[in-house]
Structure formats: C-alpha cells, structure tokens
Amino acid sequence: MKMLNVSISPHVRSSKTTTKIMLDVIIAMSPAMIFGYIYFGWRALLISVLSVASCVLTEFVYEKIMKLPVTIGDLSAVVTGLVLAMCLYSTAPWWIPIVGGVFAILVVKMLFGGIGQNFMNPALTARCFLILSFSRIMTDYPTVTDGITSATPLAAAAKGGFVSYTTLLFGNHSGSIGETSALAILIGAAYLIIRRVISPRIPLYVIGSTIVFVAVFTLMKGETPVTLNYLSVQIMGGGLLAGAVFMATDYTTSPVTKWGRTIYGIAVGLITAVIRCFGSPEGISFAIIMANLLTPMIEKLTYPKPLGTYGKKAEKK
C-alpha cells in the first residue's frame, strides 16, 4: 500500500473561510446600499462601483508590482470599497471614491502588510483623509429626490428640530449613501449576528454608550432639550448604526477578547459623543479610527483568564 498523508491533529476543518466571511459581510451590507441607490439614484451606484473597483485594482496592482501572492480573491478589498462608498455622499465627484480607494488599500492596508495587519480601518481612514483634504466637496450633502429635509437629521436635531420616525427608519433623508435607512442596516446586522460573523457585543456597547454620553453631554450643555426624538435621531439619523454594525466590528482593528470588545465599544461611544456634542454633528468615523489605535492596549489589558485559575479555592486544595 502507498504511504498515506500524515499531519498533526485535528484532521478536520470547519467550512468557514475568510472569503465566505467577507461574502457574508457583503450580503449584509447590500440592503443598506440598495436603499441608498433607491434614494440617491444612479450616481450612488456609480460611486460604489468606482470605490470597489479602485480598492480591488489597487490591491491587485500592488501585489503584482511587489511580486506577492494576489489576495483579491478573499474579497476583503471589495468589503473595504463598499464600506468607503457607504459613507460617501452621492454628490461626490467621480474621482473622490478612486482617490479614497487607493488611499485605503495602498497606504492603510498594504503598506502595513495586507489583510489582518493594518491598525486602522482602511475605509474609514480614507474617508477621514478625504474629509480633511477636500472638506468643501466632502460636506456638500445631497437632497433626496423628494426633498424632505435639506440638512441631515443630525444637523437638524442639533438645532432642536423634529425628525419623523418613518423617515429615520426608511432613510429618505440626506446623508451618506448607505447609512440613512436604519431598517436596512438592522436587517444586515441581524444577518451578521445569525451567521455568527460578528457578536452583538461591539454594536450594542457602541450604540448604548453613545446614547448615554450624548444625553449626559447635552444636559451639561443645556442648549437643546434631551427628548426621545433627539436620542432616536442620534442613533438612526447619522452614521452611528452603520458605523456600529459594519465598521466598528471590523475584525482586524477591533479587540478579539470579550472584555476588550466591551471597553472598545464604550470608547467608540464616548469619543463619538464628545465629537457630536462639542465638535461637528457627525463623529462616528473619527471615533472608530481613534479607538482602533487603542486596540492593542485594550487587548493586553483584557487577556483572558484560563479555565483553571478562576477563584483561588481550587488552587489551595
């Protein structure tokens, strides 16, 4: 008989692969993106296509030039492109997603070693880079086709305005392409949690702590009354939901430990609230990339305790 394969146990593997996980994320993001295309039209679609293409091409070209194995098959560049498109305005000129995509993949991801090695979320870092570099273009938000509100709900709420709940839920208000419809994002979140791609821990702590801190800070300032509508707008009117579900949960840049995820979620919420109450009306993307920087430290502080060391009782016996 011929010699057989040998290997060290275990000899079976689960069917989950990196590609399947990324595909799940793409599926989860699609309802939110489709809602965006319905409200903002073909330009929103164009922006997404350009963004995804730019990300995938950048990764491909970089790996070809550097003679590295090509990894675009793992779909992580597609996810980066979609996340970037999700938080751009549909009125952005055509070159914005291209510049953003190149920056996200080349500078933030590939130069630090590719998938799993970057320390900040590539798409969000690219977005912040775009906002700081081209601030006038990037803040030129669109009005939806039926033109219900001209300002984003967050900006309206900051002035004490009322935004209807159906508008918040279905997202026919101005904002970034993929972050307006709370309903669509929640569908995506449910899909990710059911497929066990993410645990609900990070989104819940991000949303929960943002609300608590926003309420506290707003009361401290005393300019706008803290009403139920005000808080609902804080959750659903801006990028918080999309950020908490699709961006704060990015594997590479969030802690892997259980308590680390809790601390990280609260940190994101705190920074978001500080920016929203004392700075510009929107702050989730800056908050996430700042919390990304804390990730290695949080992980070190929350190294899990092994099974056999809980309680000193057993040890003494």
């Binding site: 057989l4 146990s9 692969t17 793992d74 305790k305 092994p306 056999g308």
Partner: protein
C-alpha cells in the same frame, strides 16, 4: 431541556451514524499479535518473557516499569516470537513482545473466576486493577491504579464516568452503553467502594439518548449514582472540561483531578475495572470502531489488544475507496498513521479511514476574527499563543498560560484562515515541558 456544559467548544458533524447501528462483533485474530510496551503515559513496561516462552490468555508479559506505568497482559495463548522494537501508531518505534497465536486460547489459572468486590479491601481492589494493566481507555492512557491510589488525606467527592464520546465518528463507548451498561455500573460501584464518601456521576452527551436510558436503567435506585446528560459539543469529554461542567470545580495543568476531589474514568475503563475486579479478567480486549467513508462496512469490534489493524479493516469489509488518510482515534485529536501495519493498543478507540484528506495545505493570513478565543474551552488566546510559539518566545508563551492548552484542536478547526494554531501551540508546549524536565533532572 437545560443541559450541563462548558463555555467554548465547537459543533462538529458527529458522523456517528456510520457505525452506531453496528453491534459489537468479537474478532478472532488471524496473524501474530504485537504487544507494545508504551501503551500508556509514563515509563514503558518491562517485558518479563523471552522468545520461545509459552504464554497464556491473561498472563502478564510485561511488568510496570515505574510508578506511573502499567502491566501488559497477553490476550491469546501461544509462543513468544520476538522481544524487539516495533513501529507504533504515532510513527515512533517501541519495544514490543510478538506472540504467535496457537488458537487454543488456553487461560491462566483463575481467569474468569467471580469475586465478590464487597469483601475486598481498597488495597486489594487497586492491586487487582494494577495487575490487570488497566489504563485510561479514552485516549490519554493514564494508568488507572495510579489514579485510584490518591495521596493520603485527599478527599474524593466525585467519581465521574466519562461517556461523552465527543469526538466525531467514534461509537465504541456508545455501543458499550447499549450492550454492557450493567458492567460499567458495576465498575463504578467497585470504585465507589474504594471511596466511601464519593458519589458517582455518569456524564453522557445528549446525542446518545438510548445510551443514557440504558445506563439510567442499570443504575436502578442506587442513591450514589446519577446520570447527567451533557450538551453535544466538542470537547465535552475532555477531562478538565468534564469536571467543570459537572461539578463547577476548575483544575489547571498543575493539578490532577484528585486535587479538586474528582476522579474521571472513561466508560470503557469502568467496564475494564468491573472485568478485572469482579471476574478476574485482565485488560486483554477493547472495543475498536472501524469507520469512515473509505471502508465498506463501518463496525465495532471487540478486538484483542495486539491485533494487527489491517486485519480489522479486512473484517470491516475492506476498503471501499483507497483512503487518503487513516487516523488512530477521532479526527480532532487522533494520530494520522502512514501504514496500517500497527497493532491495536489499549487506547485505540477508533480507526478512521477517510477517502479525502480535507486539511487545507496552505494557511492564510490571520484576519483577527477572534473565533479561536470564543471556542477555546480553556479560555486562552490561541492567536497570541501561536505568535509567541512561532517566534520561539517560550517565556512569553508560559506567561500567557500556554501550558494550560489541552490540545483539543478547536482553534484550528474553527479558523477561517485555516491557520495551524493548536499544532504550533502543542509543539511549543511539548518543548517547554521537555525543557522543564531537563532542568528538574539537572537539579
């Protein structure tokens, strides 16, 4: 229904349907029998026969070679052919006694004589277990008499009979539950008679409802015995995990179960104890599941220890397909063999023949999904341990509790990037332990 379990672990397709319906068949060996001297953890046994000697069924052919060691008993009668090195299932070679079967099955005097265990002292029972060469038959092979001879002053509260059989494919304990539950209960009663203050618990995974029912029935109304269904999850049958699930006590790598007042015995081991003490039959046979998609008739055999494995595969109808991989034990913790020319030993619960080797050859970059942390039953951080292990940073490896790893392989199983986490960690662990041993010897 709420079932006891632990935090972590993975759900694997159990594939037990292949062989669970096949009743245990007694197998008569055709060729020579090879008795390895290293069928247990600890010092190898020392042969006490020489080539040309005639041995009988139940005759001790090797004495324990140290404190943690076990005897080896012949399962057939015949002449000793050689006492020489032989290849064993892990690819290593070890000293072995080869016996040519004369097919007479002549037994030693007193073999099979019934004894009343209630009249025996604890020392007599432990001596009977020692002479029978019983070791943990779940896979680790820790000598059972050492387990039972606890340090004076240690209070044992729980005797746990481990019937989890959480590894996929294996059905030997399940068949024993259906066919010989009485004997396992008898074995537990014998151990309970050694530890007067302890209670006995059968921990059985809930995917074996018929087994649970049979064992419950055999326990009758004995107040000291109970049967606890456990959630079906791998590695539910790991010793430390089992103790935590059933008693909420926690042990680490520096402790023995006895330090937490527990003794854990495999289901097959409990039956072996009953045979040895109540019927004076030493450990000469064990149940071996021959299964997998590359074999014609997956079956459970009652095979003499020392039988050549290729004979068992023939008895199971031979190959359906040419196997790409053959595993001794389950797919999660078993050892892959490169040849079938190895003997059955005391811990061979399963011979798994797989048509296809599903192990992905090349791992990808870690995406930091954190799934290895979620599934780790020891609550470790496999991704970090692997990094320190690969960097040969053994001091950091120890600091990060790398020695607590039980090698269950859940992290490698779940990893979407197919990284070989448990392999690296196990290698580093073995290195650290070997270094410690060296340092201790120097002192």
């Amino acid at each position: 229904m709420f079932k006891k379990t632990f935090r972590g672990g993975v759900h694997i397709k159990d594939m037990k349907h292949l062989s669970s319906g096949s009743a245990i068949k007694e197998y008569k060996p055709q060729g020579e029998l090879v008795y390895l001297m290293n069928q247990h953890i600890g010092a190898p046994a020392v042969p006490c026969v020489k080539p040309g000697d005639r041995v009988l069924v139940g005759q001790t052919i090797a004495e324990p070679g140290g404190f943690v060691s076990a005897a080896v008993v012949s399962s057939v009668s015949g002449a000793v052919k050689t006492v020489a090195a032989h290849v064993c299932h892990n690819g290593d070679s070890a000293l072995a006694v080869t016996v040519v079967n004369d097919n007479e099955y002549a037994t030693v005097e007193g073999y099979g004589a019934e004894r009343d265990y209630t009249q025996m002292t604890a020392e007599e029972i432990i001596a009977a277990v020692k002479n029978a060469g019983i070791v943990g038959m779940g896979g680790a092979g820790f000598p059972t008499h050492v387990k039972l001879a606890v340090k004076p002053g240690t209070k044992i509260d729980y005797i746990i009979c481990n019937g989890a059989e959480c590894e996929p494919y294996i059905t030997c304990d399940y068949r024993l539950m259906l066919e010989q539950a009485d004997k396992a209960v008898l074995g537990m009663k014998i151990v309970l008679s050694v530890f007067k203050d302890a209670v006995g618990i059968f921990g059985i995974e809930a995917n074996k409802p018929e087994g649970i029912a049979k064992v419950k029935e055999s326990c009758g109304d004995d107040g000291r015995l109970s049967v606890v269904p456990l959630k079906k999850k791998y590695p539910q049958g790991g010793e430390r995990v089992m103790i935590t699930a059933l008693t909420k006590r926690r042990i680490n790598s520096r402790m023995l179960p006895a330090d937490a007042g527990c003794i854990v015995l495999n289901f097959s081991t409990a039956i072996a104890i009953a045979e040895a003490v109540a019927y004076n039959k030493p450990l000469t046979h064990r149940i071996v599941t021959v299964t997998g998609d590359a074999v014609n008739e997956p079956s459970n055999f009652d095979a003499p220890i020392g039988t050549n494995v290729s004979e068992l595969v023939e008895a199971a109808g031979g190959f359906k397909y040419e196997p790409e991989k053959i595993i001794f034990g389950g797919p999660m913790m078993g050892a892959a063999v490169y040849s079938l020319d190895v003997p059955v030993n005391k811990t061979t619960s399963c011979i798994l023949l797989l048509k296809k080797d599903t192990v992905v050859p090349e791992p990808h970059e870690c995406i930091r999904c954190g799934k290895c942390l979620t599934v780790c039953p020891e609550h470790l951080m496999p991704i970090k341990l692997k990094n320190t292990a690969d960097a040969n940073d053994y001091a950091e490896f120890e600091k990060l509790n790398g020695l607590e790893c039980i090698g269950c392989g859940c992290c490698t199983y779940i990893c979407p990037a197919k990284r070989r986490l448990s392999q690296s960690i196990t290698a580093a662990k073995q290195f650290v332990l070997a270094e410690k041993k060296k340092a201790a010897v120097k002192k």
